[in-house]
Symmetry: C2
Amino acid sequence: MSNEFKDCLLPAELSQTGFSYTLSEISGKYKIEILYLLSIQGTRRFNEIKRTMGAISFKSLTNALQGLTNDHLITRHQFPEIPPHVEYQLSSRGKSLLPVLDAICLWGESHQPSAE
Amino acid sequence: MSNEFKDCLLPAELSQTGFSYTLSEISGKYKIEILYLLSIQGTRRFNEIKRTMGAISFKSLTNALQGLTNDHLITRHQFPEIPPHVEYQLSSRGKSLLPVLDAICLWGESHQPSAE
DNA sequence: CGGTATCCAAGAAGATACTG
DNA sequence: CAGTATCTTCTTGGATACCG
């Protein structure tokens, strides 16, 4: 296990760990939820994601999707149609986050107060 | 694996999953990093945490620690001394998050660009 | 030492209108 | 349909001063 206690973590050293790198890519109010959503639902269109996310604005969803696309965690496929048709799905890099998403999901299922 | 595709996720239903419950407890700019820090370093005092976190203000650290304490993810032990002496460490509930923390750490180690 | 209280600035996010 | 642009609002977070 990688969590034996170490007393050697120096100031500012935390920011050099893989831990912080992961956070830099998935932190943000909606990013992780979008990744989770796509991990469950597969390929989804812009407005399908928006509806499932509930109270999210166009702008915030656009920002989150662009950030995830720039980090190559999801792929964006635009069909040359009128009206426009854009689909998002997890990239292979995004799919490599599944262990993280699963761990988060499992913890919540077993620790939320009103668990079934 | 809990990530077979399901097409049954309805609008607003995402917020009822264990996934969202986990996020509600660990989201925030510093919470996860503090949990990770304590998972590595064990018991730490307020200013030790502050130094390791680098650029964090008293107020933000106080807020994060109080939030984590209220959610019973860490414990706060105050020694009746002058000057004050307060120690923080993961609670058993907090330790149950170790799989999540480990997953985040492992992904970062294997995916950050400058990984050795 | 380990906070709290106050004020202020910066960034995130919502609402709305408009576009290809 | 899937955005962009703009404006406004609101939440976070930082700086500072003070307290037990």
